[in-house]
Symmetry: C2
């Protein structure tokens, strides 16, 4: 059984952006970042990648916002031997949805993350120790403020588009409210104006699993003698979250009730991977802890919980009406973490605000993860939308 | 805020069965129970309660099968001072759905449970130590075999009805296949012919949380010096499962995004109960570990995963067609753990098998837990159904 739901659909490398490099920018060195929570904070190191070429008019830049556990490596490979390309490689490249023959695509790791941008694992200059949970609690707005800082740092006055799915979608919506004049279009995919209370509930259980792990050590696990963090707890959080990314149909389709490597029940309570779906989730959990920091997981899920356009601005229409940008809103019919009704709420609010909006509910069996998997379908809509935005 | 979603709707104690007592029966003392997994096992102590009076013809007995974390205390109170009555008190009593003026109602704790019936916390006579995970891995069929043993022990040849929701629903369906001539009707509520792969996935994460807790000690935690078991892990499993018992709408309705005891975000990552839904889940988790044994949780969720009428019998129609009993199938429109489609599958199979079946999909905002909450609605259907069964 292939354990990789997503990689199956990644297109051939020859249509890729090729070899890429991670860059770093130091921001907020002179004027510190003031977070929504009231902390003052700087400098901030930002890890980012770019694909394609910035044109002379500097008006063909597209900023890609990654989801909860993504990073700046959205496309291409660091080395020819890399087993896998960036996480949205099927969507970014020559002739693809984000066409690197036309556009200059930027993707940066989020503030509070663990893939190069300053986060809880970074050294606190005041103590020479990792911040751990002394890192300020951040919001989606803080993340976007840092990204907008990077855009200015790259000499770009106005982005052609901001594009993101899930938590990336929160960021592009926030961008519209916080920097309304810095963008010409917003592509909000598999997202909503807030996380549902059910979503907060799942996040709360995931965080509980991390807090419960004795290796968590109040977040100061970087100094654990064995070098291990709360890996058991983080794996549980990931397994749980992963269920919410899949549709019931996609689980049935891919795994059903098939057993792993046997024909009959084992009748052993300790056999944790009896069904294929169990084996898959355990694999996802164990792989995740190798690449992700538990403190970042705590911070970023909290930022998701806090995000709420209506609470912050009175209404979605007031929030998003601040910009004149064109909107493309995309949902997936089997997504139950961000159900289509949330995208319809965004769309209705934009119509109410007399803004230019297109909305598509795409059919896909893959649930919330569809935006990472069904990239050809997405490309066929995003391509023309960006062309038209570019021409207006 | 009331933390008790369920107790709000429990009717006044005066309509209750009054004071009740837990009884015990010793079964399989001479001839051991042979489990589906191939273990031989006995004697089995069974904790049970009865409400109402068995008539002279001994044909008015109704057996209630409890769900995953239920027990034999389905109605009434042990003492006048008890804060809460049995778990289905609103449904069982004089003039209620299971009318104790007419019927003799029996409810027993399941095999492998932790409320009086032999389970992993019971002493293994061979070692004088608790069984822990030497307890055989059991199936829904093993649970029903023990319950049917109790019914015979009480001198009842044929039950008027077997009634159960969720895992209790699995039991009544299994009863129809295993003891087809011992029942006159089957009331299968908020259940299905098997657990979905998504349901197995949630169970797998819950079990992982228990296995990950260092206090689990491979199930031998009864001997832990501090007397504590894997309470952190079991609480996580419960919090997670609890989300699946509620509908998204009921979470929105009851908690929404309201904060617990504050008006503004705390911006503290360690504050685990910032939103009311978090506070509610933490409370549910902490309360659950006071009354439930983690090893029982492992065993019973595994029994749920294993249950599958189609796999066991070739088809649902073949499985349920073994009995001539009348069926009442009830689903709830907001139940996503056992969605109405599963009840429709049962109903269609019974029609195919030329059996007598009524199916109702009840509207309720409470998701899977509706069968425990919306008891008046359920009573209005079950009452007439049992009357008619009784008369035929």
């Amino acid at each position: 059984m292939s354990q990789e739901l997503i990689s199956e659909r990644v297109p051939a490398p020859e249509s890729s952006v090729g070899l890429v490099e991670k860059h770093f920018a130091t921001l907020f060195a002179e004027q510190p970042l003031r977070t929504d929570g009231g902390a003052e904070f700087g400098p901030v190191e930002v890890a980012y990648e770019t694909y394609g070429t910035l044109n002379e008019a500097r008006d063909n830049a597209v900023f890609v916002c990654h989801a909860l556990t993504g990073d700046s490596h959205a496309a291409g490979r660091y080395e020819d031997e890399d087993r896998k390309p960036g996480w949205w490689d099927g969507f970014i490249g020559p002739g693809k949805g984000l066409d690197t023959d036309r556009y200059f695509v930027i993707c940066a790791n989020v503030l509070g993350g663990c893939q190069g941008t300053t986060g809880p694992g970074s050294l606190n200059p005041k103590t020479e120790q990792p911040f751990a949970l002394d890192f300020p609690v951040i919001t989606v707005g803080d993340i976007v403020t840092v990204h907008q800082g990077l855009v200015r740092h790259l000499g770009i006055e106005k982005l052609l588009a901001v594009v993101g799915g899930s938590l990336g979608g929160f960021q592009v919506l926030e961008w519209a409210t916080r920097f309304p004049d810095a963008i010409r279009s917003v592509l909000a995919i598999a997202t909503g104006p807030h996380l549902s209370a059910q979503g907060i509930a799942f996040n709360a259980v995931g965080r509980r699993a991390i807090f419960s792990d004795p290796s968590f050590a109040k977040g100061r696990y970087y100094a654990n003698g064995d070098g291990l963090g709360p890996e058991l707890g983080l794996a549980i959080a990931r397994m749980l979250a992963h269920i919410t990314y899949l549709s019931e149909d996609s689980i049935e389709m891919k795994f059903g009730r098939r057993l792993q490597d046997r024909d009959e029940f084992a009748y052993e309570i300790g056999r944790e991977t009896e069904f294929q779906i169990e084996s898959y989730l355990h694999y996802q959990g164990s792989r995740f802890v190798q690449r992700f920091d538990a403190n970042s997981y705590l911070l970023l899920t909290k930022a998701m919980d806090y995000f709420h356009l209506e609470e912050s601005h009175g209404s979605i229409a007031k929030a998003l009406g601040r910009t004149d940008a064109r909107f493309l809103v995309v949902s997936y019919d089997t997504d139950w973490l961000f159900p289509p009704s949330q995208s319809r709420d965004i769309t209705a609010a934009l119509i109410e605000a007399r803004r230019d909006v297109s909305y598509v509910d795409l059919p896909s069996p893959y649930g919330h993860d569809s935006f990472l998997i069904e990239v050809d379908q997405l490309s066929s809509i995003v391509g023309p939308f960006l062309e038209r935005t570019s021409a207006t």
